[in-house]
């Protein structure tokens, strides 16, 4: 039997069915009136982020407060044409949602609403929807093997990871970011629903607080360690660094990916209970910064460059050799940088240990996943490893942005499949 009283009477239910017509007619679908959007405080930039742009939104876009991230796999039997049609449908829906509209009009009383509806009335809150293609998408199933970028491969085994297959990989990803968690969630939910029959969720994660700054106008947020995170991140204003380290350029073997970027996602569990018991000076030595100000241990303010060469009276480096900011720094990695854009997450309480199941849902964008591999290998000696573990992992190639011209809008997949 069903899990509750049937909502629909199978017979003699005609009255209810006819009455439903009244609901459709009376409700309408004028969600998020323009007045609401323009009335929203503009502290973090405009309320809507343009969907059609040279690069996909959600990368250089000033990091929003909230994340919904979906990893999806193609279902058995899905065809190349199914996938292509799905990417078109996703484009249309994403363009609508990021513009504060629902995924479809719906006034037909006997049809399920095209949009699931939970975001009706919520300001769009800078929603961005970014998609990426996983390495597995380029296997034999969709005839895309010849379109696989050489740099797109499963990440090799890396230090301090114990990956849960339930949070690893994916044929496709959807990154939805917004300052409103409901709006971000709504985007992933509706795209997944549209995808039924072609793709199904592999895993999904919600992020509740940004842990990076991607623009000079944003204050540096803190991660669950209680430390400022992203102080030395690449900023969108640093266009030369963006070109050198984030956007895929002419170096790729796949022209369709030029102007795109690689997304590396890592689910990083933080053993917060242990961390919270560490004394302050040690926490600061682990990170290499002060907890309150976020200044490097070599002094100054948050944005003072760390003095990695500085030594104390005893001859030891002021910023310890195993400090996180030293090992992760571009100075320590032949100039290697990435654009971090992660979020704090929690999945509740670990059912076995009773401790917090949460940490950092790390997302970074880069010109080549080799950048992340290089940095993560450096972090093998990271003092922070005592308190963290990488438990999920995925890499995706995010195509470039879509153009809108006199012929209308491009669709995701147009260049991939052409």
């Amino acid at each position: 039997m069903s899990s509750g009283p049937s909502r629909r009477r199978l017979l003699a239910g005609a009255g209810a069915a006819a009455a439903a017509a009244g609901v459709g007619a009376a409700t309408g679908y004028l969600a998020r009136p323009a007045a609401t959007q323009t009335a929203r405080p503009q502290a973090d930039g405009a309320a809507t982020v343009p969907f059609y742009a040279p690069h996909q939104a959600g990368i250089a876009t000033p990091a929003q407060d909230r994340l919904a991230f979906g990893s999806l796999n193609a279902v058995d039997g899905a065809t190349r044409e199914d996938l292509r049609e799905l990417l078109k449908a996703w484009t249309t829906a994403a363009a609508a949602m990021t513009n504060g509209k629902l995924v479809g009009e719906n006034t037909r009383p006997y049809a399920p609403p095209l949009d699931t509806g939970e975001a009706i009335g919520s300001p769009v809150s800078r929603l961005t929807i970014t998609i990426g293609y996983g390495p597995s998408l380029f296997d034999q199933r969709f005839g895309l093997a010849g379109r696989k970028p050489e740099a797109l491969a499963q990440l090799p085994p890396l230090p301090n990871e114990n990956l849960d297959p339930d949070y690893t990989g994916g044929d496709l990803c959807i990154q939805a970011c917004s300052d409103d968690p409901l709006v971000a969630f709504h985007a992933v939910r509706n795209l997944a629903r549209i995808g039924m029959g072609v793709v199904a969720h592999n895993w999904m994660e919600l992020g509740f607080g940004r842990t990076s700054t991607t623009t000079t106008s944003q204050a540096t947020p803190r991660n669950l360690l209680g430390f400022k995170d992203g102080t030395r991140n690449i900023k969108a204003e640093q266009t030369a660094l963006m070109d050198d380290y984030v956007w895929v350029g002419g170096e790729t073997d796949q022209p369709w990916l030029r102007g795109g970027s690689y997304l590396v996602a890592r689910k990083i569990r933080v053993f917060v209970e242990n961390w919270d018991r560490d004394y302050l000076q040690d926490q600061q030595n682990v990170i290499g910064r002060t907890k309150a100000e976020g200044a490097p241990l070599t002094g100054g303010g948050e944005f003072t460059p760390p003095g990695f060469q500085a030594t104390a009276a005893d001859g030891q480096p002021v910023i310890p050799p195993s400090a996180h900011i030293r090992l992760a720094s571009f100075e320590h990695n032949d100039g290697t940088r990435i654009l971090r854009r992660g979020y704090s997450f929690t999945d509740g309480i670990d059912p076995q240990a009773g401790t917090l199941l949460g940490g950092l849902f790390f997302i970074a964008f880069m010109k080549n996943p080799a950048q992340f591999i290089r940095l993560q290998r450096s972090l093998a000696a990271d003092a922070l490893n005592e308190y963290i573990k990488h438990t999920g992992s995925a890499v995706f190639a995010c195509p470039p942005g879509l153009r809108w011209d006199q012929h209308g809008g491009q669709h995701w997949g147009d260049t991939l499949f052409s």
């Binding site: 017979l11 003699a12 009255g15 209810a16 009244g22 609901v23 049809a111 199904a200």
Partner: protein, 391 residues
């Protein structure tokens, strides 16, 4: 803000729900809005609220859509007009809160009969409104393909209910003979008949509970846990038949009652379509998790029965859909095939308890997710049927 035509749907809605709630065991109310009813005739009726009353003009309309426009001319003591059944027991539609100068209204699809327009506070409060013409059936009845589908579906439900009784009787005989092994084999063979028509059985809520209720659903009351799943628990979890013969006798009695009820039940295409989605939703939730047949692990055959029941509906609607929405029909067929392919991996001969399938507990989580993706895709397609058959 004065009421406008745009926000009046809610008023008719209230009336419609009240009728639906009251109407599930009675015949379609003489004035109940009917799904798929013809919209050909619309009669405009003007009702002016005055201190004297609320005379409908005209006071007679042919059966069909009637659009009442209510205006308060100058009545300070009268602010509403309601259309009620002639015995005043039910409100079918109303416009409230009209102060002098305001107007509003409501629309209804009305069957022939005599009604009362009621305006409390007026010198003459009750005014007769008459709807003429023959009782008209809903529009789908004049579509031969839909009408045939509905007739055939009634036959399918009847046969399934009859099969349920017969197969359950066989199951009970094994129990009476204390033949546990045979009872295990006959249990799923009876269950599938129920699982093909479950949305129909759910109309009579307590019967569904009595036949198919689980321990926690709807309530954790031992005296109400008396159906298939109680016997399943005895056989597979408690390894006893103590008490089973009496439960089985009661189960058959309830199934006989169901059989009697379905033989007089009337269906329509919209309900068939919704029922098909409901069946697959069932498969996607309680079967995928193994919750439904938790003691016997015979989820796969009943999963198949849910799909069979839903696809029977599609099969009966096929001639109609082939013209109305061939793309949807093709999508449903493709997704049904995907479900069958996913299910086929677990077929076995003779299978667990002679079901033709392996025991569901051997189907691991990643495999269940594949099944789930296929069945959810099918349900999503089936949910698009209702608008196609709603006329």
């Amino acid at each position: 803000m004065p009421p406008t035509a745009g926000n009046l749907g809610t008023i008719a809605l209230v009336a419609g729900l009240a009728l639906a709630a009251a109407g599930c065991s009675s015949s379609h109310g003489s004035s109940a809005p009917t799904s798929g009813a013809p919209k050909a005739t619309t009669t405009a009726v003007t009702v002016d609220l005055t201190p004297q009353g609320c005379e409908p003009r005209p006071a007679t309309a042919p059966a069909g859509e009637v659009d009442f426009t209510v205006t308060n001319k100058n009545a300070t003591a009268v602010s509403e007009a309601e259309l009620r059944t002639s015995d005043l027991s039910k409100i079918l539609g109303e416009q409230e809160n009209l102060t002098p100068g305001l107007s509003g209204g409501f629309s209804l699809d009305i069957q022939p009969g005599s009604y009362t327009l009621n305006c409390p506070g007026a010198a003459k409060q009750h005014w007769t409104f008459t709807v003429t013409g023959a009782q008209k059936g809903p529009a789908w009845q004049s579509n031969p393909q839909l009408a045939a589908a509905v007739r055939s579906y009634a036959g399918y439900v009847d046969r399934s209910a009859a099969g349920l009784v017969t197969r359950t009787q066989a199951f009970c005989r094994a129990i009476d003979a204390a033949n546990m092994a045979q009872a295990e084999v006959l249990y799923p063979k009876a269950r599938v008949y129920y699982e093909r028509i479950e949305p129909v059985a759910e109309i009579w809520g307590s019967l569904d509970t009595d036949i198919d209720g689980r321990w926690e659903n709807p309530v954790t009351v031992p005296s109400q846990f008396i159906g298939f799943h109680k016997i399943e628990q005895l056989i597979w979890a408690d390894n006893t038949l103590n008490g089973a013969p009496k439960l089985c006798t009661g189960l058959v009695a309830n199934e006989r009652q169901l059989l009697t009820l379905v033989q007089t039940a009337q269906y329509n295409p919209l309900e068939m379509a919704s029922g098909a989605t409901d069946l697959i939703n069932e498969a996607a939730t309680s079967k995928i998790t193994g919750e439904e047949e938790r003691y016997s692990n015979t989820d796969l055959p009943v999963f198949q029965a849910n799909v069979d029941g839903a696809m029977e509906v599609v099969s009966l609607l096929r001639p109609y859909l082939a013209r109305k929405d061939p793309a949807l029909l093709a999508q449903i067929s493709q997704r049904d095939k995907a479900v069958e392919t996913a299910l086929a991996r677990y077929k076995a001969t003779p299978g667990d308890d002679d079901t033709g399938y392996v025991e569901y507990s051997t189907v691991l989580d990643p495999q269940r997710r594949q099944l789930s993706a296929a069945v959810n895709a099918l349900a999503e397609s089936l949910s698009k049927l209702s608008v196609q058959v709603s006329g």
